[in-house]
């Protein structure tokens, strides 16, 4: 593969191009386009977790002045394709989870719509529901495959024999709770139907994918649907096509001619737009007396909705992390009367590596080894899962460099050895990993505007990742032009197709397409193009993909302070060192790493969606009761990366970095808390209640 050889823009810590709009509040998010005559939608949600709608009395709502329509399954337009039950909104009276949309009001103002929605009387024939994930359920099943397409179970060697004869063993169960994405911008759709064409201003991480699925469901040609999404207020995996977008589209079709605005309330963000499945993970490790692993077994139990399968691939990273002659991984699911889970920042990796890396810390202690040294001892030569060489793997360098930066050398390994007043102090370490993902189908188009300027267009999504800036940097170097001469447009289905912003794949996928388009442009027009000259290219396949295992790696170190009286935990500092190939923009990359590690902190200490099994819903469904870190929880972040050259991954030499920050962080924190207190918490989040004696 050819690579970008002369890098002038790539590697520069440029300020974000969308900065001035974002800091002045003038960047338009989906709800924020000014219309003369909008309508507002407010949904009615089921208050049973399972059953059938038996009767809807919308008369009081319809009688309110300003109410334009009340949609129910009895009067909503028929969808063309209802095979995906999650998207079959208002088509039948079945209720599959508590909080499902069973009706919706469209009105002249938000206040009228919301009040009218409260007047709609929905009666349900309730059926008994089942919402509890437990390891002892007798109906756990093996899904056909995991959400990534990876096989559900893998086996190498003979785990049972190796484990039975290992000198040192560990057998522990770790759990992670249900979590909700909670981007600051709620899911939003503004839908306008003019009789033949549908326009959506949507908060989405993939406008083309959303359009394709939406068009299919509605029975429209894709050329009849346009989605506009230049600014997205966070997504983290949740802003793909869910029922909320379908509902807005249906309402737009009913009213016709006027835009219908629908933004979820924060409370509504806890049902129907996806979440991270809780996990119950059993890890068994066996090692010889030298601390070399001979047996690894990782068994995962998660949940999905009865209506749709989604298997969180928590044990997949275990297939590649460490060397061992025997290894077994399994995934089992319980199908429950719950909303459908979805990808949530580092799906699989985040919960799975909490379990694996916590187990590695416990195992290091069992082996009498320093946790950094223990990991180095078990570094694989080639990818244990595929048998392929790594395109590049520098985990050991990250661990050693991180240890040096963090000040790991003179650490007393004994727990509860350090105090500062009432604060018990401890430190912990964990590995991080994330695969290099590329999704097919991205197309970039480059046009010459004259005066040395280029227009680069691709329907990529900047969900806070910095794509507005980094793609311009890639285009500049690919064209050997100045970055100030690159005019970039993204976030509109009128632009060429691009893959979804997911799997930390955006830069790889879109950047490769841009690179290819630039190459085509220069091949066609050389160094003196004429105004209007244009070239377009699709992201090519990567011929190296079947020859190399491609992953980014990192190491996370954390210091924990635990109040001996109260169990309050503070993380005053963390160090993250990453090997993620070429860093396109050091300024935005550092923010991505910090953002990911802040998510890891959140996962370790704060987040938990509490389900009341009697009702089947998430009880703590707002920001006051579902905690994410506040500014005071965030301490010092020391971020560094290894200068890693990898000519195999893509022309830029870059690996995705949006998710790796979260991956090892929770385990590093849990290990630091153990080191501080002698208490090993295996069930996230680590709350004061779990640390009080």
């Amino acid at each position: 593969m050819t690579t970008i050889t002369e890098r002038r823009a790539i590697g520069a810590p440029l300020d974000r191009r969308d900065g001035p709009q974002k800091v002045t509040g003038t960047a338009p998010y989906a709800y924020e386009y000014r219309f003369d005559d909008p309508l507002y939608l407010f949904p009615v949600q089921s208050d049973v977790a399972r059953g059938r709608v038996s009767r809807i009395d919308a008369s009081a709502a319809e009688a309110l002045p300003g109410v334009v329509a009340v949609l129910t399954h009895e009067n909503a337009p028929r969808l063309a394709d209802t095979s995906d039950t999650e998207l079959a909104i208002l088509q039948a009276g079945d209720v599959a989870f508590r909080g499902q949309y069973v009706a919706a009001v469209v009105a002249e103002t938000l206040e009228i719509a919301r009040y009218a929605a409260s007047l709609v009387r929905v009666s349900c024939d309730e059926e008994p529901h089942d919402v509890e994930l437990r390891a002892d359920r007798d109906d756990l099943y093996a899904p056909e495959m995991l959400n990534t397409g990876d096989p559900t179970d893998t086996v190498q060697g003979n785990f049972d024999r190796e484990f039975a004869t290992a000198a040192v063993t560990l057998d522990q169960t770790y759990t992670t709770p249900m979590e909700h994405h909670n981007p600051m911008e709620p899911h939003t759709t503004v839908a306008l139907w003019d009789g033949s064409d549908l326009t959506l201003y949507a908060s989405t991480q993939g406008a083309h994918q959303m359009r394709a699925m939406l068009a299919q469901v509605l029975g429209l040609g894709q050329d009849r649907v346009r989605i506009v999404a230049p600014y997205v207020g966070g997504a983290f995996g949740s802003k793909n096509l869910h029922g909320n977008t379908i509902l807005a589209a249906l309402a737009a079709q009913v009213v016709g001619g006027r835009p219908v605005k629908f933004a979820l309330t924060r409370q509504q963000m806890f049902s129907g737009v996806g979440y991270r499945s809780p996990t119950i993970q059993r890890i068994r490790l066996g090692a010889d007396s030298g601390g070399r692993l001979t047996a690894i077994c990782h068994d995962v139990i998660g949940q999905t909705a009865k209506m749709k399968g989604f298997a969180e691939h928590a044990a997949v990273p275990t297939r590649t992390m460490y060397a061992s002659q025997s290894r077994r991984t399994t995934h089992r699911l319980a199908a429950l009367d719950v909303p459908v889970p979805t990808w949530m920042r580092a799906p699989g990796e985040a919960p799975g590596m909490f379990a694996l890396e916590s187990a590695m810390d416990e195992m290091a202690i069992n082996c009498g080894l320093d946790p950094v040294e223990f990991r180095i001892r078990n570094e694989p030569e080639i990818d244990p899962e595929t048998g392929l060489p790594y395109s590049s793997r520098n985990l050991v360098t990250c661990l050693l460099e991180g240890a040096r930066r963090f000040g790991w050398a003179d650490r007393d390994p004994h727990p509860s050895a350090r105090q500062d007043g009432r604060w018990q102090i401890g430190t912990g370490v964990a590995s991080s990993t994330f695969p290099v993902v590329r999704f097919p189908g991205s197309v970039a188009r480059i046009s010459y505007l004259g005066d040395g300027r280029f227009l680069v267009v691709i329907d990529a999504a900047d969900i806070g990742t910095g794509a507005w800036t980094t793609l311009a940097q890639i285009a500049a170097d690919a064209l050997q032009a100045d970055v100030e001469d690159i005019d970039l447009r993204i976030g509109d289905t009128r632009l060429p197709e691009a893959s979804v912003a997911a799997g930390s794949s955006g830069t790889t996928s879109w950047g490769s397409a841009i690179f290819e388009a630039a190459r085509t442009f220069r091949d066609s027009y050389g160094d003196s193009p004429s105004e209007g000259d244009q070239a377009e290219a699709t992201m090519p396949e990567n011929p190296n993909a079947s020859n190399y295992a491609m992953h980014a790696f990192g190491a996370c170190f954390a210091e924990a302070r635990v109040d001996a009286d109260t169990g309050e935990v503070r993380i005053p500092r963390m160090t993250g060192v990453f090997a993620a190939g070429k860093i396109i923009n050091p300024k935005t990359a550092r923010s991505q790493f910090i953002g990911g590690m802040t998510w890891g902190l959140s996962m370790a200490l704060h987040e938990e969606s509490l389900v009341d099994p009697r009702f089947g819903h998430v009880v703590n469904h707002d920001f006051a009761s579902y905690h994410i870190p506040a500014n005071a929880d965030s301490g010092q972040f020391d971020i560094a990366w290894i200068d890693e050259e990898d000519p195999y991954v893509n022309p830029m030499g870059s690996k995705g970095i949006g998710e790796i920050g979260i991956v090892g962080t929770a385990a590093a924190i849990a290990s630091a808390v153990y080191h501080a207190t002698g208490i090993r918490v295996r069930d996230l989040p680590i709350t004061p209640a779990k640390l009080l004696h």
């Binding site: 300020d15 974000r16 969308d18 900065g19 001035p20 974002k22 800091v23 002045t24 509040g25 003038t26 960047a27 338009p28 998010y29 709800y31 924020e32 000014r34 103002t109 938000l110 206040e111 009228i112 009040y115 909670n182 981007p183 600051m184 911008e185 709620p186 600014y231 997205v232 207020g233 966070g234 983290f236 933004a263 309330t265 924060r266 969900i463 806070g464 990742t465 910095g466 300024k587 935005t588 550092r590 923010s591 991505q592 910090i594 953002g595 590690m597 802040t598 998510w599 959140s602 707002d622 920001f623 006051a624 994410i628 870190p629 506040a630 500014n631 005071a632 965030s634 010092q636 972040f637």
Partner: protein, 173 residues
Amino acid sequence: MDVGITLKVDGIQQRIAVDPRTTLLDALRERLGIYGPKKGCDHGQCGACTVLLDGMRANSCLALAVAHDGAEIITAEGLAEDGELHPMQRSFIEHDAFQCGYCTPGQIVSAVGMLAEAEAGWPSHVTRDLGAADVPLTDEEIRERMSGNLCRCGAYANIVPAIRETAAGAGPR
């Protein structure tokens, strides 16, 4: 029944008719098309809706517009004068103190309001010497005082130096 009120928003007098149920946040966004203040939670639990309300930072989502007739409101858009970014805005860009940008206008307005509070000698939860007339604005103080503005992207680590530098450059009033 809609009620007529007057709000001075970013220097401009605006006369609008509002449903008594309309919050200042929705009045700004849906009646006036001013979308800087954002709806992150609508319940005073995230700070994305922060505006300067008669000089004080406040959550516009919990203020009924009819109860603030005649108020003077500054949003992030109003901080930029004559097309020039406010020093806090420039500092946020320089320090990459935002990612998705949705909490950002609220963060910036809150930070401006917070600096005024600190300059007035207001203590905070982390102020050790409660009796002191002046409270030095350490990073710990900034973090605590800005904790009413949630950021899901996790930009806090850059928000703090962005504010610190602006405070240092601000000088005495």
